[in-house]
């Protein structure tokens, strides 16, 4: 599934996005490193209209000194989604983008049908920060970096700009304003956590269960923070099932008959 690069003007920003597929719209928000799609998005795009945004301040976009908070950024992105003519949608995102997706669900309860948060950075262990050194970062993002194909080294200037922006607006480790809003969130939420993630460990999952009235936590085995890169099929399968069936996804609909 080939993603097309496009741009949309919204809230005074020119916002880049990648789009592929047909079906119910699914919004994707990237992590602190910027927009990079992978096999999981290709699989999702076989069933959904996937729109992966590059938030203002990431990638080649100008430095974003205007946006002050995640809620504000969610407001901007909500306008971008509306400008694309999308009224009802599911929202998903990873890490930084997980928190953005959660804010988007909270701010748009009548538009968002379901949210899937991958290793969301909305609730974080005290004082855990991603390392800035590329080699250390790679070891932190992946449980098995040795299994991944060689990747071009990231542009240090872009990473510095992106992570700097993300850290400026991400908010505290425990975000009281967000957590108060989470208790009233009407959107069904699925939280996916990698069992080897040292940035957002699995023990964080219980907070989502406690705070969100309608939430599910699923552990993705043998994946670290970049769980969608490491286990694309596993992430796709559970996310797609949740998007299709929301809370009903707890009931298996797999066929057990092996021979007719």
């Amino acid at each position: 599934m080939a993603f097309q690069e496009k741009f949309v003007e919204a809230d005074g920003f020119r916002i880049r996005y990648l789009e592929a597929g047909n079906g119910d719209p699914l919004i994707w928000f990237h992590g602190g490193g910027g927009l990079q799609l992978n096999k999981m998005h290709d699989l999702l795009a076989e069933k959904h209209r996937v729109v992966g945004f590059e938030c203002p301040g990431f990638g080649e976009s100008p430095v974003n000194e205007r946006t002050k908070s995640m809620a504000e950024l969610a407001g901007t992105m909500g306008k971008a989604i509306a400008t694309l003519g999308i009224d009802k949608f599911s929202v998903s995102g990873i890490s930084f983008g997980g928190k953005l997706a959660l804010w988007t669900a909270i701010l748009n309860p009548d538009k968002v049908t379901a949210a899937v948060l991958f290793a969301p950075a909305a609730i974080r262990p005290e004082n855990t920060r991603p390392p800035m050194d590329p080699a250390q970062l790679r070891n932190m993002l992946y449980a098995h970096p040795e299994r991944l194909p060689p990747m071009p080294p990231p542009n240090p200037e872009l990473i510095k700009k992106s992570i700097g922006f993300a850290l400026r607006i991400i908010g505290p480790d425990r975000d009281a304003e967000l957590e108060a809003r989470m208790k009233e969130c009407k959107v069904p939420v699925l939280v996916l956590l990698g069992t080897e993630d040292r940035l957002i460990p699995t023990t964080i999952g219980r907070h989502y269960r406690e705070l969100l009235p309608d939430s599910h936590v699923v552990m993705v085995y043998d994946a670290a923070h970049a769980l969608d890169v490491e286990r694309p099929e596993a992430c796709f399968a559970v996310a797609d099932d949740f998007l299709a069936r929301q809370d009903k996804f707890v009931v298996s609909n797999e066929r057990g008959v092996i021979f007719p």
Partner: protein, 363 residues
């Protein structure tokens, strides 16, 4: 040191050869007798002060009548009042890990926290039992263990998106009494298993091995544990072997004369064994691991190799000291091997009266 009394609940009646073993000459009376004998011995061991009693999982053969050791452990909760009940253990790759966690939690609750959770991969033949591909043995085991731990410790319902297992919502009741969970041991004769146990901070058990192989494997485990930032204690290492003890060396030797040859049902089906050997089941130390479950040799050699403890209490204490010194094992898991009940029972009594106090004094 600690001592465990292990019984596979062997069936002592006649049986046809091969594996799976046909039940054509099966005797219900013999099976019932095997269970009542085993329960009596477990009760006796508990009364004599054995630290643990041990049960295990084996299938489709008279070697053991406990295909589900959890069931026998459940019965033992009503018989064994002081000793810990060690289930060494369910063959994790062939079972539902959530069910295994639930069963251990039940046992831990009923006993007030006296359960030891051994997790095994199972002998090669056992992959036939529930039709599981032995090629996936290690990866199923490793995932199952991680899942089991999370099931025991995660207070909120959660789902699991594994390679081999998929669950949408797990929240087991009852919860284990021991915190964070019952002590976990795994079979660790192969280098891969020792490395995995070290990395995941679980205890190691040796069975169907020799003193030499276990010494090497225990050193490998310790080395990798150190690299992972921890130091196993003697309580982290179990060594299982057979034993016969009598009042004198001469009596013990005489008791063992004219013993019927031991049968190894698990490797008595050559085609099956070869098929499993053709997978990754044995791992990178293939030759040693495959040979480890070979046919038993002469008793004299088995004693020298640490596979059988044999003699008077003084002699056997020396043999035990060798196990402690070489392997660093702190838990001795003993199969009182004599086929005659009176002699086996007498050996248990001698061990309890004359050796357990000395064993407990050994560091």
């Amino acid at each position: 040191m600690k001592a465990a009394l292990f019984s596979p609940v062997a069936y002592h009646g006649n049986a046809s050869p091969g594996w799976p073993v046909p039940a054509d000459v099966y005797s219900q009376e013999s099976a019932a007798h095997s269970f009542s004998t085993a329960l009596d011995r477990f009760r006796l061991g508990d009364e004599l002060g054995f630290d643990w009693v041990t049960v295990a999982e084996h299938h489709f053969s008279p070697f053991s009548l406990t295909p589900n050791p959890m069931l026998l452990a459940g019965a033992l909760t009503q018989v064994v009042k002081k000793a810990k009940i060690a289930v060494l253990g369910p063959t994790l790759p062939m079972l539902n890990p959530v069910r295994v966690a639930e069963e251990f939690s039940m046992l831990d609750t009923i006993t007030g926290g006296r359960v030891i959770a051994g997790l095994m991969r199972g002998t090669p033949n056992e992959y036939v039992t529930y039709n599981v591909n032995p090629e996936e043995s290690r990866s199923r085991f490793q995932e199952g263990l991680q899942l089991l731990r999370m099931v025991w410790t995660e207070p909120q319902p959660f789902g699991w998106q594994g390679r081999h297992y998929e669950f949408r919502a797990i929240s087991v009741w009852p919860r284990p009494v021991q915190k964070p969970h019952p002590p976990i041991y795994m079979s660790g004769s192969s280098p891969e298993s020792g490395e995995f146990a070290a990395k995941n901070h679980v205890g190691l058990g040796f069975a169907v091995t020799t003193l030499g192989l276990a010494t090497k494997a225990a050193a490998h485990y310790r080395q990798h544990a150190e690299a992972a930032g921890w130091k196993p204690t003697p309580d982290d290492v179990i060594y299982r072997c057979a034993i016969h003890v009598a009042d004198t060396d001469e009596q013990a030797q005489a008791d063992m004369a004219n013993m019927p040859p031991q049968r190894r049902f698990s490797i008595s089906n050559p085609a099956l064994e070869q098929a499993v050997a053709g997978t990754s089941y044995y791992g990178r130390d293939f030759e040693a691991q495959r040979g480890r479950v070979g046919r038993p040799g002469a008793i004299k050699d088995a004693v020298e190799n640490g596979q059988i403890l044999l003699g008077s209490p003084d002699t056997v204490m020396k043999q035990i000291k060798r196990i402690r010194d070489d392997i660093g094992a702190g838990i001795l898991d003993l199969i009182f091997m004599h086929p005659e009940d009176a002699k086996a029972r007498r050996a248990i009594e001698i061990f309890g009266a004359k050796m357990l106090p000395r064993l407990h004094e050994m560091e």
